[in-house]
Subunit: 226 residues, 8 copies
Amino acid sequence: MKRKEKYLDIGFAKLDIERQKRKKAVETIYCESKTDEQLIEIFKKFDELKINAIGTRASKKQYDAVKKVIPEVEYHKEGKIITLIKKEIKKIGQVAICTGGTGDIPMAEEAAITAEFFGSNVKKYYDIGIAGINRLLDNIDKIREANVIIVLAGMEGALAGIITGLVDVPVIAVPTSIGYGSSFKGLSALLTMLNSCAEGMMVVNIDNGFGAGYSASQINRKIAKE
Amino acid sequence: MKRKEKYLDIGFAKLDIERQKRKKAVETIYCESKTDEQLIEIFKKFDELKINAIGTRASKKQYDAVKKVIPEVEYHKEGKIITLIKKEIKKIGQVAICTGGTGDIPMAEEAAITAEFFGSNVKKYYDIGIAGINRLLDNIDKIREANVIIVLAGMEGALAGIITGLVDVPVIAVPTSIGYGSSFKGLSALLTMLNSCAEGMMVVNIDNGFGAGYSASQINRKIAKE
Amino acid sequence: MKRKEKYLDIGFAKLDIERQKRKKAVETIYCESKTDEQLIEIFKKFDELKINAIGTRASKKQYDAVKKVIPEVEYHKEGKIITLIKKEIKKIGQVAICTGGTGDIPMAEEAAITAEFFGSNVKKYYDIGIAGINRLLDNIDKIREANVIIVLAGMEGALAGIITGLVDVPVIAVPTSIGYGSSFKGLSALLTMLNSCAEGMMVVNIDNGFGAGYSASQINRKIAKE
Amino acid sequence: MKRKEKYLDIGFAKLDIERQKRKKAVETIYCESKTDEQLIEIFKKFDELKINAIGTRASKKQYDAVKKVIPEVEYHKEGKIITLIKKEIKKIGQVAICTGGTGDIPMAEEAAITAEFFGSNVKKYYDIGIAGINRLLDNIDKIREANVIIVLAGMEGALAGIITGLVDVPVIAVPTSIGYGSSFKGLSALLTMLNSCAEGMMVVNIDNGFGAGYSASQINRKIAKE
Amino acid sequence: MKRKEKYLDIGFAKLDIERQKRKKAVETIYCESKTDEQLIEIFKKFDELKINAIGTRASKKQYDAVKKVIPEVEYHKEGKIITLIKKEIKKIGQVAICTGGTGDIPMAEEAAITAEFFGSNVKKYYDIGIAGINRLLDNIDKIREANVIIVLAGMEGALAGIITGLVDVPVIAVPTSIGYGSSFKGLSALLTMLNSCAEGMMVVNIDNGFGAGYSASQINRKIAKE
Amino acid sequence: MKRKEKYLDIGFAKLDIERQKRKKAVETIYCESKTDEQLIEIFKKFDELKINAIGTRASKKQYDAVKKVIPEVEYHKEGKIITLIKKEIKKIGQVAICTGGTGDIPMAEEAAITAEFFGSNVKKYYDIGIAGINRLLDNIDKIREANVIIVLAGMEGALAGIITGLVDVPVIAVPTSIGYGSSFKGLSALLTMLNSCAEGMMVVNIDNGFGAGYSASQINRKIAKE
Amino acid sequence: MKRKEKYLDIGFAKLDIERQKRKKAVETIYCESKTDEQLIEIFKKFDELKINAIGTRASKKQYDAVKKVIPEVEYHKEGKIITLIKKEIKKIGQVAICTGGTGDIPMAEEAAITAEFFGSNVKKYYDIGIAGINRLLDNIDKIREANVIIVLAGMEGALAGIITGLVDVPVIAVPTSIGYGSSFKGLSALLTMLNSCAEGMMVVNIDNGFGAGYSASQINRKIAKE
Amino acid sequence: MKRKEKYLDIGFAKLDIERQKRKKAVETIYCESKTDEQLIEIFKKFDELKINAIGTRASKKQYDAVKKVIPEVEYHKEGKIITLIKKEIKKIGQVAICTGGTGDIPMAEEAAITAEFFGSNVKKYYDIGIAGINRLLDNIDKIREANVIIVLAGMEGALAGIITGLVDVPVIAVPTSIGYGSSFKGLSALLTMLNSCAEGMMVVNIDNGFGAGYSASQINRKIAKE
C-alpha cells in the first residue's frame, strides 16, 4: 500500500481524497478560517476529480469568489453552505429536523442540507418549542416516522428532552446560541441537553448543524439499508 | 421612634424581632454555620418572647442540642428544618409543589414546611418529571388550582418550563443539585430555568426550597386575601 | 377537542393563538432572531385576528419594516418593544419598578411596557441605587404600596436585596448587564440576587425586563382581583 | 384511552409502566438519590409485574438492601448496576466499547451492561488510549465490525476523535472524570469531544456510561433489524 | 550589604528575617500546607531570635504539636491562629470589623487577631447584615469612628457596599465562603464586592481575614501616626 | 432633619448632593451608559451648584456634547474622564502609580486624574513590568516614598505582588484587561492579585482605575493629615 | 555595576537593552496595545542602537506608520510581525512546526518567524490534523528529525498529544482560538493539551505562536550547540 | 514489522513495551485509578522483562500491596511515586527545581524523582517565593547553571515569570493547587503562568510534577548530549 496516494497535497492543505473509501463520505471543507484563494484551490481540485464537495460556514462573499471560478457551485444561504454536485445524490430513509423557535432555523438548515448531501431524505418541523406544547404534540406522530430525529433549540434547550421522552428513535440534540443573558451563547442549552434524563439522546457542539446532519444521515442510511 | 427596640442584641447575634411587623413574618434562622450554643441561645429568646421560630438547614445533631433545652421544638427530617410553634398557624389558599424526581424531595419538603409555617396550605406532586410526560399531564388540572406553583428539578431542570407553559399561575422554579457530570451541582438546572422562554416563571437559588416556600406563601396569602 | 384549531401554522412559525384562553395572555413575539419578513407575517396575523400583540427586543429597523404594512403598530424606543393594540387594555392594581442607576432604564422600560400591556398600572422609581441610600429610604414608603416590586440593578446588584429586606411585598429581581470587568455582563448581579438572604425575592434572567414585567403583572392582577 | 393506566402511582414515585410500549424499553431507575426503602418498593413493583428492571449508580449497600427482599436481583459491581431479569433478553448485532485507560473501565462497564440489558451484543477494547497509538491501530479492524462504537476517555479525551476519523460507523463519545488539575472532573474531555472535527461523533454527559449504552443499543438494534 | 544575613535558611524553608526592617512587620507563617515538624522548626527559630510570630490557618492539632516544644505559643481557636509573643505589642488607632452574619465570625476573628498582632486596636460589629438594615443603621455612627473598616460577608456580600456608601473611611471587603448553591464557595460575594459602585472599597481574597487584618492595620497605623 | 434636601431629583436621576458632607467627596458620574441629554442635564446641575464634578468612562463624543452647553468642562483623553472644576483643588501627600506595560496606561491615567481630582499629588512609574525586573528595582526607592501605591498590570499581573513584597506602604492592585487568550479579559490578572501572598495588597475591579484612584486618595489624605 | 545603564528610558516606556546579555535575546515589542507614536519611538531607538528588533501582533496600519520613519522594517503579514534586521541572523538546528488545519496557519507563521528571528531553521507541516490521520503518519519520520516540535491546533486540539506519543523530541503545544460553540475561543484546545497523558509535551497560551517560537528556538539552539 | 510484538496484552491493560525504542523511555504507570490487583500485574510484567518502571500518584496502600509481591520496588513518599529499578540509571546534565513555598514540595519531589528516573541530575531550591525576593536573588546565579529549570508555585504563581525574566534557560512552570478562595485549586496559578509575558516559559497541568520532570529531563539530556 502506497501511502502517498491517500491524499492530495496542494501546499497549504492536504485533501483527504481516500476518505470516500474509508469513511464512505468525502471530506468536508470548513470555510470559516480559510482565505478565498484557499477555497478556490480546494474546490478546483474536487471539481477536477469529479467528487461532490460541501463547504460549511461559508459567507456569501466566499461563495461569490468560488462561483467565479467554478460556476457549478451552489449556495444555501440560510445554512451558509456551498455545495458542488458532480454526481447525483441518491437519498434514502428519513431524518426529521425539529426546532424550538424560528431563530434556530439557520442551524437547522445547515443540518438539513448536510443530511441531504450525505444521502438522506429530510422532513422539517420548525418552531414547535415547548412554550406552546400543543405545537409539538400535534406533530409527534409524524416525527416518530423518521429513522433519526435532530432537535435544535437555544435558550433553555428543553425541547430535545421532551421529544426524546416521546419517541423510540435515536435523537441528536443541537444546542444553539440563540438567547441572551445567562444563556451564555448556547452554554445553557448545551448543559440542559447533556443532563437530560430522557433516554436515547446524544449531543453535538453548540450550533453544529453540520455534525448533527452528518451523524443523522450516517445512522439513517445504515437503518434504511444503505 | 426608638431604634433600640427594633432588635434584640444577644452578643454574637442581633435578632430582628421587629420584623414581624415590617415583614409580617419572623426572622428565619439559617442554622448551617451556627454553633449549637448559638442556636440554643437564639431559640431560647424566641421561646421567651413566645414568637414562632423556624430554623433551616439544621442537622439532626443541632436539633438534638436545641431539643434538650427547649423540648417544644420539632424536627422535620427530610426538609432539615427545626420549628418552634408558640401560637397556632392559620393556613389559607394553596401552594402546589412539584418535583421532577424523587431526589428533589428533600428540597421540596423544605419548601413545603416553610410555606406551611408562613401560613399556606400545600399540595404535593412528586416525581412527575418530563422523562414520562404522562405523569405530568395527568396531574396538570389539579396543579392549576393552586395560587402559586413551586417546581423543583435537577439535572436538565426542564420541568419548570413545561409546567409554566401549561398554566396561568405564577411559577417559582428551584434548581436542585441532583445530577452528575456536567450538571455542575445544579448549575445546569439553574441556567435552564433562567433561560426558559415560558412566560410567568421566576427562579431562586440552587436547592433553595426555603426561599421558594417563603415567596410562594407570601404571594398565595396576598391572592387568598390574607 | 380538535387540536388543529389551537394554533395557526404560517409555515416558518406556528402561532399559539389558543394561549389567550390557556394562559390568559397572548403569545409574545421575540423579535431578535427573526427576519423582517417573518415579523410582518406574524403581526399581520394578529392584526387580522384583532388580537393585541407585543414584540420584544425589536430594533427600530424592524419596527419600520412592520410599520409600513401595519400602520397601527407603536414603538417604545427605550424598551425596544413593538405593540399592536386592537382592543383597549384595562389596567388594575400597581407594580413598582425600581432601578439602581440610569443605565438600567432600558430594561426597566421593557418591564414597564410589558406590565402595562398585560393589564397592570406601573409606578417608576429610577436611579435609587445603594451608593446613596437616602434616595431609596425617601421612596420606600411609596414603593411599599405596590402589590409587586420589580428591582433592576447591574454591577453589584445589591439594591434588590436591600429593598426586599424593607418591604412585605413580593420582589422580582432583574440583574442587568450594566458594568464592566468582573461584572461579566450581568453574571455578578445575577449571583448577588440569587444568593440574597433577604426573604421574598425571586430572580429572572439577565436583562429580562419582559419576564419580570410579565410575572409581576400576573401576580399583581391576581392580588388586585383580576 | 385512559391515562390512569399509563403509570403506577406508588406514593413517592410514579412508575412509567407504559413506556415499554412507547419507548420499547422499560424505565430505568436512577438509584443515587433514592433511599433503600424507595428502591425496594420500586423493584418489588417490577418484580410483581414481571418486567425486567435496571437500576444505575447503585451502591453495594443499596443492592444488599434490595437483595434481601427480592433475591433474584443481580449486582454488577464495576458498573454499579442492579438488574432484575424476569424474561430472557435476546441480544442481536454488535456494539464495540473502547476505553483510553484502565481508569475508564467502571463507566465502560456501565455502558456494557446497559447495552446488553437493552438487547445488544457487546465487544470490549479497553486501555487502547492514544499515548501508545499502536494499541489502537492493532484493534481498529475488529472495532470497525460493530454497528455502533462507544468510546470512553478522560484527561484529554482525544481517543474518541481518533477512532471516529478511522471508521464509518456512528461513534458515541463518553467523557470521563478521570484526571486531575485542569481536567476539571471531566470538563476537559467533554470539551475535547464536543469540539472534535471528526465527522460522525456524538457526545453524552460526563461519566454517563448508561446513556451511551442505551443509545448505542437503540441504534444497533435498528441497524441489525430489531 | 551582605545578602546572606537577610534570611535564615533552615533547609526546607527560608525565613525572611530581614523583613521586619523592610516591611516593618515579621513574616507570617501560612500553616495549612506545612507538616508539624516544619512548623515546630520555624517557631523555634522565631523563639530563639525573640521575634513575635503569627501562624494562620493552623489546626488545633498543629498548635498542640508546636505547644509541646514552645509552651509560650497561644491558640486563637475561632480565627485558627497561633501567636508567639516575645515582646509586647503596642496598639494604636482603631480598626472596625463588621460581619453580615454569624457564619462570617471565624474569618472576622482571623482579621481581628491579625490587626491586633500588627499593632491596632479593634472594635467588632458582628451580625449586622442587610436582611435587617436597622442593625446596621444603629451602629453606623460608632463604625464611622474607626480609621479603617473591614467588612466580611458571604452569600450575596452586599453589606460591604452599603457600609462604604455611608462612611468616609477606607473599607476593606472580605468575601466569605458562607452560602450554598450558586454562591460557589464565595465567588458570588467576591464578584458583588469587586463590582460595587460604592466609592472607597477595596477587596481581598475569599475568606482572607488575615490579608484584610494586615492591610487595615497598616493603613490604621499610618493614619494614627505610627 | 428633612430628607428631601439630601439629593436633587432631576427626573431620570437623583443627584446625591449631600454626599459632599457625608463622604467628603462629590458623587462621581459613570458616563458609559448615559445618553448625551442625561449627561448635559447632570453637569448643568453641578455647574449651577458650583460643585466640582467628575465623569468617568466618557467618550470624546459625550464630552463634545457636554462641552457645547458647559464650555468649562475639560476632557482627559487617555483616562476618558470629563472634569468640571468650579473651585480649585488643593493637593496634599503623594500617591505612586505604577504600570506593568504601556498598554495599562489608559487605566493608570484614569487613576491618576481621579486621585488628583480628589486632592492628592501623583507620581507615575509606567512600563516597569517584571519581564525586565531592573526597571522596577531602579525605581523602588522613589516608589516607597508615596503614602499609597497603585499598581496596574494585565496578562499575568504579577507586578503588584512583587512591589508589595518590597515596600511598607499600602498597595492597591488594579488588574487590567490587557492580554489575549487565557487572560480572559483581565480575569487572569485579577486572580493573580487576589491570590498574592504578599502582605499589604488590596484589589479593585478589572480596569477600575477610578476606584483605585479614589481609595488611594482617601487613604493618602488621611495619612497626610487632611 | 551601574543600574542606570541597563535600560533606556524613553518616557512612556523603558527599553530593556541589557537583556541581550542577560537573556541572550533582545526585548520583544508587543504592539497590540501601543499607539503608532509609541511604536515609532521604540523602533527608532533599536535602529539607532543597531539592534535587531521584533514586534508581534502588529497591524498592517502600525507597520505602515513605522515604515514611513524606518524604511528598513519588514512586515510578515500572516504572522502579523514587524522585524528590523540590523545584523544578519545565523540559523542553526531545526524546529518543526505542525498545524491541525489551515485556520491555524497565522499563529504557526508567528511561531515560524519568531523561531527564525531568534536563530533557528524551521520546517513546516501544515494541515495534518487528526481527522485524516494518514496525513500525519506520512510526515512523522521527517518531523522526528527536528530538535523541537511545535504543534498548533484549535477545536479539540488533539493533534499535539498524538504527535507527542509518536516522537522522542520535546513538543511545545499551542492551542488556537479556531473553532466555535463550546471551543470557547481556544479554551477547549488549551484544556485538551494540558490534560494530555502523552509524555514530553509543554503548553503555552492560546494563540501564543510567539512564545512557542521563542522557547522552541531557545531549546533548539542549546541542543544544536549554540 | 509485526505489530503484535509492540505491546503486551494483559487483559485489562496493554503495556506499551516497544515505547523504550520509540520514545527512548518506558511507559509510566498512572496509579490513581487502578486497583491493587491491576498494579501488581503490571509491575510483575516489568519485573519479568527486567525493565525499569515508574508509577505516579501511588498511595502508600498501593505501594504496600505491590511490595508484597515484588519486594524490590521503592516508595518515594513525598512525591507519591513507586519505582522499580532493574538496571542502573546513569544521570547526566542538570535540572534545577524551584518552589515558591513549602506547600509545593510534594509536587516538586514528584518532578525531582521523575527527572532522576529518566536520567538527569537534579538540584533543589525550595521556598524561594516572591514574598521575600531576596531568597530568590541570592540563589539565581546557581539556578542559572542548570540546563532546564522547573518552577512550581501555587496561589498567585508569579515566581515562574520572575525566574524566567532572569535567566537564559528554558523554564517549565508547574501551577500547584496550593491556596484557597479564588485560587480555585490551581486555576489562578495556571492562568498566571500561561499569561506571563516573560519569554522562554512553558506550562504543564496543575500539580503535574511528573510531566515537568519528564520534559525537563528529556531537554536536559539532549543538551547534555545524551
